[in-house]
């Protein structure tokens, strides 16, 4: 699988984006195109997950995986905060904001992993999309409590942001639609969301490569200690996720993807929430770590490692 990973067009487009970014090519994906692709991908996996649940029903596995995911999202920020202040030497507010990113999840990491596990013949359960959506929010709450600050915005504003931010609404909404429509209702719109899917993901990763390398290039706040944590934390969180998934009896692919969710760090939903709730925290730190270091590490190395681990544990 290692060679397949490295010659997969999806990964290669990510590498191309990194290359273009580091060489300061003027290649740029228009903002609206990037957002359109993100919306498309969220709707596509939401629908797919919903149809899968409609076919399989609401199972014990789904409920257990959901509980495990929410637990991870709530708890991961605490050890992360500890490491970021002690080893990373960050100030309280920066450490808290960054910790929230690591508790939450990255949609693109999830999709990339799902694709690669599929191709490798150990597919993850469709319902994991629901777990993905559930894991976005709890870490934000933990992060804010770590900042010992009720945030600049009221609790109501924040809860609103956590429960109704665009990716949660799109993921859960599309999943419900897929669930209600079922396989037959989904059939007429399936071509749009099935045929184009992988190619769009490849183009999206091209943009992610551009964004990640630009982050790394422009950063002035990342020390070697922080860079190290940007690799150690997802490695550790990933292992915890896979072990937990195996213990509660998930299939290897599903356990592996729980690990991927644990390992992944948010760079879309959580930064937006932090700019509102913790504007004092420096986005240069949390974005450079989650997008510049952790994301490439997960995509190029960790996904592969976690699937191997899940296979061994099973």
């Amino acid at each position: 699988m290692i060679l397949e990973t490295l010659t997969s067009p999806i990964i290669l487009f990510f590498v191309l984006g990194m290359f273009a970014g580091f060489t300061r090519s003027d290649l740029a994906i228009p903002e609206a195109m990037a957002k359109a692709m993100a919306i498309y991908l969220m709707v596509a996996i939401g629908l797919k997950g919903g149809v899968a649940i409609a076919e399989a029903g609401i199972t014990r596995d789904l409920l257990l995986a959901g509980a495990a995911g929410v637990g991870l999202s709530f708890l991961v920020p605490y050890p992360a905060f500890f490491l970021l202040t002690r080893i990373g030497r960050l100030a309280r507010v920066d450490a808290a904001a960054t910790a929230a990113h690591y508790g939450s999840v990255s949609l693109v990491t999830y999709i990339t992993a799902a694709e690669m596990f599929d191709a490798a013949g150990m597919p993850a359960a469709g319902f994991m999309v629901a777990v993905l959506a559930l894991m976005e929010g709890p870490a934000i709450i933990s992060g804010l409590s770590l900042a010992r600050k009720d945030s600049d915005s009221s609790r109501a504003e924040l809860l609103h942001e956590v429960l109704l931010n665009s990716s949660v609404v799109l993921l859960i909404g599309s999943m419900l639609i897929g669930y209600v429509a079922g396989p037959e209702g989904f059939a007429p719109i399936a071509p749009t969301f099935a045929v184009g899917y992988k190619g769009i993901l490849a183009l999206f990763l091209l943009d992610m490569g551009l964004l990640a390398s630009r982050r790394l290039r422009e950063t002035r706040t990342i020390t070697w200690r922080l860079a190290l944590l940007g690799i150690l934390m997802p490695a550790a969180n990933g292992i915890i996720g896979v072990v937990l998934g195996t213990l509660i009896g998930l299939e290897p692919g599903t356990a592996a993807i729980l690990g991927v969710l644990g390992a992944s760090a948010s760079y879309i939903a959580v930064p937006a929430a932090m700019r509102l709730a913790l504007p004092q925290a420096d986005p240069g730190i949390y974005l450079s770590m989650s997008l510049g270091i952790t994301f490439p590490f997960n995509v190029v190395v960790n996904i592969f490692f976690l699937s191997w681990l899940a296979g061994v544990l099973a």
């Binding site: 903002e31 990037a34 957002k35 915005s153 930064p271 504007p279 240069g284």
Partner: protein, 101 residues
């Protein structure tokens, strides 16, 4: 045509703060405000580029009002200037039909 002197306040801020700032501006006595897009910039905190995907997008909020309104706005906004890295300038303009402001 009767021209009246007014203040033109420009504030550079994160897009997420627009609703909040809009409220503050109105409470300071301004009759309205207008928001314009911004592409990129650089300052003490380094260079920055529009990148809505990761939630980093600044906008320029424009508000026309009396000197009194502007004074009130300054009071209200002062605590946010540092924590939220706002950039604020006040210029002079003339308008007709001052009753609109």
């Amino acid at each position: 045509m009767q021209l009246s002197k007014m203040k033109r306040v420009e504030i550079l801020l994160e897009e997420q703060l627009v609703p909040k700032l809009g409220r503050i501006v109105r409470e300071a006595g301004f009759s309205g405000h207008t928001v314009m897009p911004v592409l990129q910039g650089s300052g003490g905190g380094g260079a920055w580029q529009d990148e809505r995907l990761t939630g980093s997008s600044k906008v320029m909020l424009l508000a026309i009002g009396t000197a009194e309104d502007a004074g009130q706005l300054l009071e209200a906004i002062a605590p946010l200037l540092d924590s939220h890295r706002l950039l604020l300038t006040i210029g002079e303009v003339e308008v007709i039909r001052r009753e609109r402001f």
